[in-house]
């Protein structure tokens, strides 16, 4: 135990905005660009770039709709994206466990070691 290699993190999900987008879409089925903007507090340009990166990777799919004659972009997580998020979160968890195992043990206690 503890000798297992930590699976590699997904570079495309290492950016916190992209990770948040993917996790939000894993929880909620479909979200609009404006909703992401509200939740993540990003500018149009930055958010658009992060969404495009995920779209290019095949992790999210976009659908256009008109509401009151204005275009609205709705995003969903693809099956590939869902697998990527699951694998990335698993890797993060392994990494955090490994870091916890390597951290110096507190002295003087009765082996508690709670964080």
């Amino acid at each position: 135990m503890g000798d297992e290699p930590i699976p590699a993190l997904d570079r495309r999900l290492e950016h916190r905005v992209r990770l948040a987008i993917a996790v939000l879409l894993a929880r909620h089925e479909e979200m609009s660009f404006r909703r992401f903007k509200t939740l993540l507090g990003e500018t149009d340009g930055s958010l658009g770039a992060q969404l495009r990166t995920l779209e290019d990777a095949g992790y999210v799919a976009v659908r256009k709709e008109f509401q009151h004659r204005r275009p609205v972009s709705w995003y969903t997580l693809t099956a590939r994206g869902r697998r990527a998020v699951a694998a990335h979160l698993e890797s993060l968890q392994s990494l955090i466990h490994a870091a916890g195992a390597l951290a110096p043990k507190p002295r003087g206690g009765r082996g508690g070691g709670k964080s």
Binding site: L9, R16, L19, A20, V23, L24, R27, H28, E29, E30, M31, S32, F33, R34, R35, T38, L39, L40, Q67, V72, W74, L92, L95, I96, A99
Partner: protein, 193 residues
Amino acid sequence: MPEPIDLTGVGRDLDYVRHALDCSGSRRPAAIPLLWAGIVLAGFALLDLAPSIAGPFWLVASPVGFLASAWAGRTSARRSGQRDRATSGRHLLHWAGLLGALALLLPLVRSGALAGAAVGQAALLLVALGYWLDGVHHLAANRWVAAALVAAYLLSFVVERHVWLLVGVVVSAALVISSIPGRSAPASPSDGR
């Protein structure tokens, strides 16, 4: 050699993701409890003031209110930019189940097994259970509506005059309070892995 990973940064990123998730909980549009507050007030008042039309009123108002609520939920999701078909489906099943249970009281009423005030009391109990379960699984504010419904149910045994009008006022007030923004939060914001 792989780059070292900044665990503090990872922790900060995860906090950011968690915050976004917590803020993204589905919210119920205030129009739904307000609509039901109106229906409940009118329906229960009729039981006292014009009992002959109270039955037909509930037969029409319940399914119309259900459909109007579904439409309000759908419109609100579209406007907010967040659609959860699975969650919406669960909500629909939950309330359709309650509506079905209420409709199944009719054979008991027709057979005479349930009559007079007991019809309203049995309906109140069923609705209280429906709100309680919704409060536990979906929307915490509905637990208070369930508590008001149970209080109204108990009240119906002790009050003698205009009891249904009083029940309508109590339940309506609970519905109006549950519609206040901030009380329409999901039962558990971090739920739903």
